[in-house]
Symmetry: C2
Subunit: 98 residues, 2 copies
């Protein structure tokens, strides 16, 4: 059963461009992972938004997601710490499509 | 230019079912608004997730979104307050689709 990974980011104002640039490498790696389906990386329109970046990605199932997560989490956490970025990832099911 | 509304909710554990039931009425109203395109209402898989519900909806443009928001915000805020729900809505553009 497909799952949706939603990762809510709080990125310091002065690190936004560096974060976006870094994310382009991350996404190149994610798309190669078995079980990855599709993703959308969102940037808030208003400068003062609390959550200025939100990633929404669909995976075949929970199992393939965690396999990919385990491979990428260590380097990812190091970079996020360096940038001072707060991330809150979680897995979701779609309760309603409308 | 289409915009994506992402609304991040923190719903008290004991109010989740009531919130989901209420959201079914909200979504029936949203889909009637001019400029609404599509939406996905997500529920977290793990019980302890910080953000247990996240709504992602696409609108034709910012203008139609705010018109719909102005119409629905007052009754919505009253209900959310009664349920003790915290919501963080913001508008986004898709920076990358992958």
């Amino acid at each position: 059963m497909p799952v949706t990974l939603i990762n809510v980011f709080v990125v310091p104002k002065d690190k936004e461009d560096e974060f976006v640039k870094w994310w382009q490498d991350v996404k190149a790696d994610i798309t190669k992972q078995p079980g990855f389906i599709s993703g959308k990386f969102h940037r808030s329109i208003k400068p003062g938004s609390r959550f200025n970046f939100i990633n929404v990605a669909i995976w075949d199932n929970e199992d393939v997601y965690w396999k990919a997560y385990d491979k990428s989490v260590t380097p990812m956490k190091a970079k996020l710490e360096q940038l001072g970025v707060e991330m809150t990832p979680a897995l979701y099911h779609v309760a309603f499509e409308y």
